[in-house]
């Protein structure tokens, strides 16, 4: 895997204790890390917590990071684990709460409100791993291997999960499609 020169330099400097270099890595990777976390926990505040926790853990473990590898996959695995921990603690959260949390980011709530609410409910109903795989692959462009690395599953399993997750999401949104 080709690692961008900037990232490689930042990772090396961060390993030697340069906090400014680590801030550079945060700047490069926080958006993707947020999406990985959000796909797992679905709630914005929990996703932020997971991202912060993930970066702090990455900083603590930076001495063990192999700079010949990409920082992103390594970080995303840590963030995903932090998100999974939070998700386990929040199992009691209701579908209604998830739906509200998913609806809130839309800039114009009146526009396609029904459509978005159905999508929010469908995403919330998807199993955690199915939702994560769809978001990581279809929205953020992770490869099957990268998803497997982040979620701790083989790449082939990620591919199979993605197929089933798409089928399930389509099934949940079927009436939406029929109406269209």
């Amino acid at each position: 895997m080709r690692i961008p020169d900037e990232e490689h330099a930042l990772a090396k400097a961060a390993r030697e204790g340069d906090q400014n270099a680590f801030a550079g890595l945060v700047r490069l990777h926080q958006r993707r890390a947020y999406l990985v976390a959000r796909a797992i926990v679905t709630v914005h505040e929990d996703a932020e917590d997971a991202v912060q926790e993930g970066f702090v853990k990455a900083y603590q473990a930076i001495g063990r990071f192999d700079t010949s590898q990409g920082f992103g996959p390594w970080l995303n695995r840590i963030v995903a684990n932090a998100a999974l921990d939070i998700a386990r603690r929040r199992k009691v959260r209701t579908t209604e709460e998830l739906t509200e949390a998913l609806k809130s980011p839309f800039r114009n709530p009146a526009e396609d409100a029904e459509l978005k609410e159905r999508l929010a409910v469908a995403l919330a109903e998807l199993p955690e791993r199915a939702r994560s795989v769809i978001v990581m692959h279809d929205v953020e462009g992770f490869t099957h291997a990268e998803i497997g690395e982040v979620l701790g599953i083989p790449g082939g399993t990620a591919r199979s999960d993605l197929h089933h997750a798409r089928l399930k999401l389509r099934g949940l949104l079927k009436d939406m499609r029929d109406d269209a």
């Binding site: 906090q19 958006r31 999406l35 900083y59 269209a180």
Partner: protein, 135 residues
């Protein structure tokens, strides 16, 4: 209902959920503040992350030990409790003896005391033997 969300028909090769749905998911998973002020939101998150990182760096290796501190404390308490119980059980017989020695002074019966002139086995025999040998 909008046509934008039409999925690929079953005969189509693509297994993708389709760009319109991808856009909606991306929009749904955008942080609330990032939708309106993306630069400010991400700069703010970076500051918060780095504040926590700096805090961790100041604490140094102690920060890594904090999660273990509670477990260590519970384990140490349990070990002390068990050691205390075992120690108490081991020293109890000695204490009992010492206690009884203090609160129950030895009471000897009158019959145990030797009476003057009474035959005491051994002592009298030795005296008799000494008398015969000397004469």
């Amino acid at each position: 209902m909008t046509d934008e969300l039409k999925f690929p028909a079953s005969g189509e090769r693509s297994d993708s959920i389709g760009e319109p749905l991808v856009s909606l998911i991306r929009e749904a998973y955008t942080p609330p503040d990032a939708a309106a002020w993306p630069d400010a939101y991400w700069a703010g998150l970076e500051r918060r992350i780095m504040a926590r990182v700096s805090e961790t760096a100041e604490k140094g290796w102690w920060a890594e030990l904090v999660p273990w501190a509670r477990i260590g404390l519970v384990a140490a308490t349990a070990i002390f409790a068990v050691a205390g119980i075992v120690n108490q059980q081991l020293t109890e017989p000695d204490d009992q003896v010492a206690y009884e020695a203090v609160v129950q002074p030895e009471i000897t019966s009158a019959s145990d005391e030797p009476i003057a002139g009474q035959y005491v086995a051994g002592e009298t025999d030795a005296a008799a033997l000494s008398y015969y040998l000397s004469n």
